[in-house]
Point group: D2
Chain length 273, copies 4
């Protein structure tokens, strides 16, 4: 006897941009949506009865249709609009709305430069009973520093050949998500503050490891933004490996490195109040 | 007052290949590893004390070092070897070992063709107390059918324009993971059986939706392999959209489509016993 | 005084699929088009006068519109249809049509598996005076062999540390393009023959280098297909590097490798009659 | 009778980073190299004789070995060093050296942010007779503007449905390469000037098409930098398509768009003196 467990359906990879004309300059939002629903759709699985399966194409259309009037820079607010709209439907029990923003840098009144890997994330999970959980995040914020990072004092076993490093190049792509107990009054400026605090503590704080660096960043974010209950990080260690020049008879000054995209050190942690 | 929550560290994206010479033909394993550890490393975060932080470089070296003697086609067995090795260390409480295999198709005694998106996944999660959880999976198995798929009878709202389809092109990339109550005697042939059952029921069973198709596949897998306790699927609906030719004054025979990589219908579910 | 030189415009990345119903089984073509045009559009550049600039959106629509009646498995034939259509327009002097086919493997009457990196390429370049140049190609055909490949006898300088290898793992992604003096009667079966000959000579012929292996493949293709005037290869050497286990005190059996995606040996050559 | 035509060999995808300590702040260069050689290696192809085939691994090592002393921000200068080194070898007739720089933005004394798609390109082609051709370029500079772009007055045929647009969102990824008659005294500041001029004329100049916009940019670059003989552009039109809201009974304000990565308008041209 087999049975259906948890299940969700919706649309992912929905790209949408919106032009907001202003008196002094235009704004331009460049977003990607994922909306996943849960509800009573067991008959769809077991019997092929689609009477409760809102088409994923409808979910996509809904995003565009509501965006014209409701979408602003306050992404959490629009995610809530979408969540509310979805869970108000008969048979939809919960909705999980994620918005990722590609960032454009303003260049004058109507111009922008882009192309960066960094994304702002806004996420609202909600149900038909009115519960709402508000998340935000940063993805792909690539940083590097040439000083203020060490890695020494680690345990050694038969397969350890890594030399101790009192001063090394440290690079990572910051990926962090946090949950708000209460939504801040201005989600965009709060997000900017979180980003500023992260960068400041990555660049200015000496660290003994990726873990230590991450802790310093996380603690500072929680100190700075009281509405954040908890924050999780994924910090890939994007290695710039020493390239051994001594084997060519050269004196190795340790200034030339071999950056590799794989493998990478994979550091993940959560910090709570 | 902030405090450290759950945390893990290790190495991801470790690529390793192994040549196994045989009397009649060679075998060639092409793998990617991820090994994440948990343990008592709070001092590393709070104080920069690395005395318990096994370097991720050591984790990487361990994979290569153990592979020479222990790695065979039975990936779950080698994942267990790695897991056992890691949790035997002082201070390591648990290990999560994932192995992804790129598949090569044999061409004669020493030749192979490759380049496909499909991956076999083996995963062992274990702790220092001796608990082991054994997972397996398939990722990126791309399938399409030109018959035996419908989507009708769904609810319509103000944003629904999708026409009902009695007969449509259905394509997805099968991603599935399952957990074994007991490891099968031959994990490789069991994996092949799961794959065969999935394909058979995708190609042969008429379905009313991706959900219905997925249920038929999942149920058949659970019927065929008693060692599987539970299976989860992620089935992106890779749309081949009709391209409207009528606006050019042509009679539209509905044979020409526009495949899109985004957005995609996103169907996720678990089936249990 | 600056002036406009060579220039082209058109549409790239046009994905199109076509379903061809058959009595015994269906066929499914999954294609990507690039159509670049040249013509007298200097006023568009210098003066912003678009009267000769066929919109790239029109080029895209043309591909879909003509595909319903004219597109078959004979890709070169359809590329010629597109080329003829374009250069017949006032102001269009030449057209360069490329079609890349994603290959699906038939599974029964209506089923297919896909997901491979391999592509079939068809290309027709033509002009308003009636000249047509017919190209075909293979891209992303990934192959590997565990025997029959050496690399010895190369020159050594102060930066050479590569050991000689009498027997090594050799892997590449075959990328080849060839030009036909006359189009073969059946372009699809000819393409299949070229592919078979390449694979046979990669797997069966002992080689002293990627260059030597490529020569043997190219020569065999030219021997087998008299309509081919010239063939060019790009053969990235996808290295499986030895992973040094001796530094861990292990006896190294040279069966464990570290595959890397970058850097890669980059071998390019043309063979003519 | 078949024979070997043009051929080259070398290493691609060689990633190298270099740390340059400074009194006030550090510099960090993050580069990717491609070095292709030509020479008399016909015996390698026809007979498997490698006596003239400099291993691609040696080419890679050479890049790292010379970088320690010779590599600075003046990429063209280091490309020349590599080219000179290679063509000085017996049997090497010419070398083609390309360097792509990932750009990092300085953040304080030792910090940097990165992750952008933009690359600086430097290229030197040279031969054993002493001829050197110096190229530079920009790749992946993503720009967008919400005003100052139109596309009207184009020809219409039976497959044209594109509406005329007096004011549209225009976005592209600037890819340009240019050749220097003489190397400027400071290749880095010249490169920055070219970039500034391109951006200024993209953002400030009204254009009637991508072609027109490109011409204005190219002409301005040639006006600003006398050492540039010729410049070529590839400007993909990265469409933000209107999403039709009228079909949902909404009044469509034309502020909501659907960005697509494929297909794209493909505009390519060269401007010379």
């Amino acid at each position: 006897m087999v049975e259906l467990g948890t299940n969700r359906w919706g649309k992912s990879g929905v790209r949408l941009s919106k032009l907001i004309r202003g008196p002094d300059h235009d704004d331009f939002l460049d977003l990607e949506f994922q909306v996943l629903l849960a509800g009573d759709v067991e008959p769809a699985y077991l019997e092929g009865d689609n009477s409760a399966v809102l088409p994923t194409d409808t979910t996509r259309n809904t995003i565009y249709a509501l965006a014209q009037d409701k979408l602003t820079e306050d992404l959490e607010s629009f995610a809530t609009v979408l969540c509310d709209h979805m869970v108000a439907k008969v048979g939809i029990e919960s909705a999980d709305v994620r918005i990722r923003q590609r960032r454009w840098h303003r260049e004058g009144r109507t111009g922008f430069t882009g192309g960066g890997s960094e994304r702002r994330l806004a996420r609202v999970q909600g149900d038909a009973a009115g519960i709402r959980e508000n998340w935000a995040g940063i993805e792909g914020l690539v940083v590097l520093k040439t000083g203020g990072s060490a890695f020494v004092g680690f345990p050694r076993d038969e397969f350890t050949v890594l030399p101790e490093a009192e001063d090394r190049v440290l690079s990572t792509s910051i990926n962090a998500q946090w949950v708000y107990t209460d939504l801040p009054a201005n989600t965009t400026s709060t997000w900017e503050s979180v980003r500023d605090v992260m960068l400041q503590h990555f660049f200015d704080d000496w660290s003994a490891s990726v873990q230590h660096q991450g802790w310093l960043m996380a603690r500072a974010v929680l100190d700075a933004v009281p509405e954040i209950a908890e924050i999780s990080f994924e910090l890939p260690n994007q290695h710039h490996l020493p390239f051994d020049l001594a084997r060519f008879g050269l004196s190795d000054e340790h200034t030339v490195f071999h950056p590799v995209s794989e493998p990478y050190g994979d550091i993940r942690f959560t910090v709570t109040r």
